[in-house]
Structures are given as C-alpha cells and as structure tokens.
Amino acid sequence: MRPSRLSLLIAVGLVLITCAITLAQPEGGAMVQWLWALFGLAATVDLVISRKGRSVAALLDLPDQMFVGTTADVPLTLRSATGPLPRDLRVQAQTRGALDTTIPDVDITEDTAELTLTLTCSARGAFAFEQLWLMWSSRLGLFDIITAKRFDHAIDGVPNIQPVLSGQITTQVQAELYGVKDSQFRGEGSEFHQLRDFTTGMDTRLIDWKRSARHGSLVARETHVEQNHQIIMCVDNGHLMRQTIDGLPKIDCALNAALATTWAAGIGGDQVGFMAFDSRPGLYIPPAPGRTAFARIRGQVAGLAYKSVESNHTLALAHLNGLLNRRSLIIVFTDFVDRITAQLMVENLAVLSRHHVLVVVTLKDPVLEQTAAPSDSSMAAIAKSVAAQEMSKERQMVLDELRRMGVVCLDVAPGSLSPELVSTYIDIKAREMI
C-alpha cells in the first residue's frame, strides 16, 4: 500500500495553502491546522473502510516447460472473497529470466475476472514465474492498495522441438526417403534391400541374372539409400551467435534446427553426434543412433550456457577432426562478420572438407537487407546502406569461397532454417555424398 497520486497532490496543495495563509494572515494558523487534520482523518477513514490485499485471490495454471521462441497462453482467474472486484484493478507479472509477460486489460464480472496471460520464452535456461502484482485504489482514492501473490513456479526454457512433435519432420523425411520420391532413389541406392519379382515397367538393369537363373524366373534387386552414416552437429556458441534475430538468439535457432535434423537423421537410420564450441571445444556427445541421440542431445543442449567470447574455429575444428575416425557429414552452425575474421574459419573448414562432407549454416539477418534499401535519402541512411551492402558483399564472398571448396552453404532466415536444413540433409543422403 502507498499514498495515491491524489494524496500527493492534496499534500502539495495543502503546503501551498499553508504558505499562503500563514504568510498573509498571522492568525491563520488554526485554520491550516484544521485543514491538515481533516486530511489526516480522511486518510485514516479511507484505510479502515477500504478492502485489503488479502481479499483478492489469484489462480494461475502455469506450464513447467516452454520451447524457446514460443508463447504460451496462461489462464488467470482473479476472485474476490468480499464483494465484487475493484473496477480499476491492475495486474503485473514478475518473472525471473528470459520470460516476458503480456497482460490484457482486466474484464471484471462481479467477483471474478478471467483473463489470459501470454508468456513468451526468448532464451534457454531455468526461469521462474515469481509473483503476480495487483493494485487498485482505496475507497476514497487516497491510497493505492498493492498486493503481490507469490507463485515461484519454475519454468524451463528448452530448445524448440515443435516440428518434431508435430510430425512435420517425420512426414518430410519419410516422404522423401521412403515415400513417393523414394522410388526414384530406391534403384540408385547402393545398399541392397531385397529381391523381388521383376514386373513390366521395371528397369531391366535391376535384374539379378544369377539369382534369376537359380530361381527359374526373373528377379530384380531392390536397393535403398545407405544408412548408419555418421552425422555431427557442430554448433558455434561464441558471441556472434548470441545476436538476436526476431527476438531469438541465433544459437537457439541453430539448436532448434540441429534437433530437427537429428530427428530426421534418426528416421533416416543414421547416427548423430553433437559438439559445441566457443573459445575452446565444449560439450561433445559421441554419435549414437538417431532416437537415442535425439534424447541425449536435447537434454544436454538445454543447459548450454550463453557465451560472450570470440569463437576459436581452429581449435574446435581441429579437435573435432581428431575425434572422427570415419567419413561423416558435419553440419557447422556458425557466423562471421567479414572476410578477414572468417579467414581462419575458411582455412579450417577446407582441411575438414578433405575427409568429410561439410554443411555450413549461417543465419541471414533481415536488418542487413532492410538497411541496404533505406526508406529515406538522408546521408546517415545512405552511409548505413553502403555499410550494409559492403557487409552483405563480404559475407557472400566468404560463402562463395566455401562453395568453391565443395562445402554446402546455407545462408537462410531463421524461420526457414529447419526445413531447409532437413531438405539439404535428405538431398546429401539421397545423392550418397557421405
């Protein structure tokens, strides 16, 4: 509880009146004292007749876990124990960590109010919904009644695996590897699958002549794409990856895409490993079959701390090269600013690309494109536009250099990263590049 703005205005007004009266009329002191006494009495009466903070209860149904970059609608019920709820009730939420709350206007219906809080999780980590603040005016408006309802509800921010849970990845992979499109690749795969009777329309090159002779009728070899490949998700956790795009750090976009691809690789029958690095190599999870790897990686990356240090690609990629004993698909999620700073990264990727298939994933910042085409013609906007064009050009030159080395480069907006990466994975797998 605290004095309201009205109280403050009255008090300041009374001070002015006191000055005016006492300086103008030497005997006006008694009147001034009466005015102050009246104010004090009104305040006391207001305190007695106003409803207390305990008279309003709040019920919240909070989630235990949220995906990074998603929102959750949380129903909130405010209930009054004594009479109708105050009309001017205001609500604020207090959270700890990267949880943002949006609270709509309270719609009061007698003694209960139902509203929906929108919680937004903008980073990974252990957060909490601490308390709900309620405020309303006292009966005479001289006080603000403030009360805080404590919840201390822990909410974990975890990487977003919605595309996996919704079956989007499963559908995409199965459709492309084993579904309609799979018929194109089935004959082109190098791994033997089964023998089946030759029927009209099948490619005659598929006929297994020895077995046909033994069997007495024409049989064809059916192959499918190779499985059990080793795929490594190599995530840069340096300061450049902390940059937020559309409210979400780049590192989280990368982890979401890495998990989606891990799931896709699980369906594709491959083994997936994980490595994170910043100024030195960090978390390493050895390759394991898809579903097992997915659960393990998901659990470990949720606790991956945000770092504000410069990434050391040389150390990390050399370390990774030493860990791998067979040809693998390495998906590197990273970022760079210009050619000079990317030079070491390019050199190390060149070394790695001699033995492995490399996919380099960078996230396109829409700010660059927006700044390059300014809406006004001031010199400041033009200077920024030139800087943005220069930055885009340098970025493109680095990516072109990587492509010339045979590295597959993906420079995409965060929203389309997961589907693009899964598509690239399927494409690499179907073309048997690994």
Binding site: R90, R242, V337, K384
Partner: protein, 429 residues
C-alpha cells in the same frame, strides 16, 4: 508513463537549477582571487603582523568612513565604464583582463571620501588559471591607458622597460616592473616614490579627491611581498599614507559601497548567532516546515512502495548486434566527409541490385546492357531515372552536401517509380 513524465519534469527542473548554479558560479570566485599570488591576503596578514589593523571588505562589515586611515583599493578591472563581457571560450577566459568588475561611480565615491591607495592592475586572468607569471599574460598597455583615461589621469603613461626581474638599490623587486613615465607627470599628479626608471607611487589631485596611485601591484600583492625588500617598502608606503590618529587600513576588494558615512555604528562584524536560524523555526515558518515535512513523508512513502517488478535496465551479457555495427560503420563513413563518393557507392549498389533482380544473381553487371533493358521494360520512367543517374554522376568533392542530398533524393524517388513500373510489367498489367 504519466508518473515517469512527472519524474522527468522534476528531474529536468533540478538539472536546470544545477546548470544555472554552475553557470553563475562558473567564474573565478572573489575568494580565489584574494587567496591567489596576485591577491591581497598576504598584505592583510603582513599588516596585522606589524601592528597595523587591517580589515578586509565584507558585506557584513559595519565601519564608517571616519574609522578608516587608508583604503587600499586594488583594481582588477580595465574598463570602469562597462561590465566585462562573459568569456566565450577558454582562450578568452585566459586573456580576460577583468577579474573583478567595478563601476566608475562606485570607484569615484570610494576615492573621494577616504584617503585611498589605488593599485593598478597588471596581470590577466590566465595567471590565476596557470599559477604562473608570464609576459604574455600582462595586460596590454593600450588597455591600461584606457583605464587611466577613465580615472581621469590620462597624462600618466606606463612603462615596462625592464623585462624579467628588476631589483632596485633599496631592495624593491618585481617581475616585469610597471612604472609611470617620469616625463609625463604634470600638474595633476606628483611623484611620491620613484626608482631610476620611473615613478612607482604618485599622488593625484582630481576634482574633489586626492588619492595615491601605485603603478605596480606586485609590490603589495601576496607574491610580491615575498620578493626582495618589498615587504618593508610596503609597510613604509602604507604607514606614510595613513591618516594621523586612526590606525585601520581597509583593504577594499568589494564592488559596492560597504562603508557607512556616519560613525555611529560599532566597528565590528555583526556576528552570526543561533537566533538567526531559530527565527526560521518559529511561526509561521514552523507550520510551513511541518506541512512540507508531511508532504515529503508522503512522497517518500509513495516512492518506497513499488507496483510491479523492478525495471531491468541492462542485459546480463553483451551480444553482437548487426544494427549497432551498421550504425557505427555508417557513422565512420559519414565522418570521412566524402559524401559524393558515398552517394555514388550507394547508387552503384542499387544498380547492382536492379541488375540482379532483372537478369538473375549470376549475371555480370554491365551498365549499358542494364540501361537498354530498363528502357525496354520501363519506357515511362526510364528517362527520369537516367536523368537522376546523370545528376548523381556529376556530384564531386566540391558539390555542397545539400545538393548531394537532393541528387540522392531525386535518384531514390525515380528508383521507386521505376521499380513500380517494373512491378507492373512483371505482374502483367
């Protein structure tokens, strides 16, 4: 939001008040001048140590003219007719010859009714700032001549013929000694104390007043007293000029009339007592103070109770930001002052972008081919676009920034119209 606005207003009011106070008190204070090497504190202590009662001017001094044997009046102003203008910058402040503004009428009244020793100025304000004496910080003779003219003794002229330290046979020592020219003394002024190079102290009879004037303040100021035999000379000068029967020397550094004409008042500083303060605690102030106290408590109470979580002003870590990086790079590019090159780079980039949109990302940029294609695709707006391009091509380092901005604006406008027409073409209507 409204609360924030009110807080901001209060904060702004305080900030303005503080700025005003800083502005008002930004000059060199009188106390600092008196305590400086060219100030009069040394003389005050020296006289008192030698059984001459010295009194410094003060607004609470209650002395009458009859109580004073001699008024020592150090001038620190070269223009008595007008106030010195506020220094515009540090350079002006250092070269300012006026340290204490004195009005001519006040000066005239001061020298008329009491026996006075006027001490001419010599140094500019830079001496106080640097704490050093240097020939460059001497007040120009032209300004000194103006001052003497305003006093009414224009026939006196100053000489500074002896650079560096000068010491006379009787131990008088000064740096860049400033004297009156011998030959120019006529009926108004007569020499009182001379050295071979000129007159140090002269007596002048002017209108209704007779006063003494000392050419070089470094004989009586704090640092000067410590040199050679100046302290003894100073005592001799002061003693010789004091009226008989009264032994109070009034060192007058005030810019107003502080001495009372009548001699009825007590010769003392009116002391400050606790009663001065207690007057503010009696009615009606008591009631006003109590009211203000109550209002303050209410404000404090309101300020202590918060609704909602504390605002978080800073993030927990530093993240890279493309916008910040672009902002900084753009600023640096602008700082080069090569606006014409910047605009031409911008135009080239936009043309490349247009080329990419029309011919695809892998096509080589060729301006001629692009122009031909644009003329075919956008016949209505192409001419304007070409004209805007030509105008931008003509800007160079000598083109004013406003004209460059105009050219860029014209290009942007024509580019938008062209893009619009190309959009119509691609949409097929």
């Amino acid at each position: 939001m409204a609360e924030n606005r009110a807080s901001m207003l209060i904060f702004a009011a305080f900030a303005i008040l503080l700025a005003l106070m800083a502005f008002v008190f930004s000059g060199i204070s009188d106390r600092a001048i008196k305590a400086s090497p060219i100030g009069s504190d040394g003389l005050f202590h020296w006289l008192n140590a030698n059984e001459i009662e010295a009194v410094r001017s003060h607004r609470r001094t209650v002395l009458s003219e009859g109580d004073i044997a001699l008024r020592v009046l150090p001038l620190l102003d070269t223009n008595l007719y007008s106030d010195a203008p506020e220094p515009f910058d540090a350079r002006e402040r250092l070269s300012n010859p006026t340290l204490r503004d004195l009005d001519w009428s006040i000066f005239d009244e001061k020298i008329t009714y009491v026996s006075s020793l006027v001490i001419l100025p010599k140094w500019r304000a830079g001496v106080l700032e640097h704490g050093l004496l240097d020939p460059q910080l001497l007040i120009p003779k032209g300004q000194m001549a103006g001052l003497l003219n305003q006093i009414g003794i224009e026939e006196l002229t100053l000489t500074r013929n002896r650079p560096g330290f000068t010491q006379t046979d009787d131990g008088l020592t000064a740096y860049e000694l400033q004297l009156f020219h011998y030959t120019r003394l006529d009926g108004l002024c007569t020499p009182v104390l001379s050295v071979p190079e000129g007159v140090l102290l002269a007596r002048c009879a002017l209108r209704d007043s007779t006063f003494h004037i000392l050419s070089d303040p470094d004989i009586l100021n704090t640092h000067g007293l410590a040199l050679g035999n100046n302290a003894e000379v100073a005592l001799g000068i002061i003693r010789s000029l004091m009226w008989e029967g009264v032994d109070t020397v009034y060192i007058d550094t005030s810019t107003t009339i502080t001495l009372d004409v009548s001699g009825d008042e007590d010769r003392a500083l009116r002391p400050r007592t606790a009663d001065d303060l207690s007057r503010f605690l009696t009615y009606p102030f008591s009631l006003i103070l109590m009211g203000a106290g109550a209002a303050f408590l209410i404000m404090l109470w309101r300020g202590l109770a918060r609704f909602g979580p504390a605002l978080q002003l800073a993030d927990d870590g530093h993240a890279a930001s493309t916008s910040a990086s672009l902002e900084a790079k753009g600023y640096v590019l602008q700082m080069t002052g090569e606006d014409h090159a910047l605009v031409q780079d911008y135009i080239t980039a936009r043309l490349h972008s247009l080329n990419r949109d029309i011919f695809g990302p892998k096509t080589r940029f060729d301006r001629g081919t692009l122009t031909k294609k644009l003329a075919a695709l956008a016949p209505h707006t192409h001419a304007d676009f070409a004209a805007a391009l030509a105008r931008v091509a003509n800007v160079d380092a000598t083109t004013p920034t406003a004209a460059i901005e105009d050219a860029a604006y014209e290009f942007d406008e024509s580019y938008r119209r062209l893009s619009d027409e190309l959009g119509h073409v691609s949409r097929g209507h």
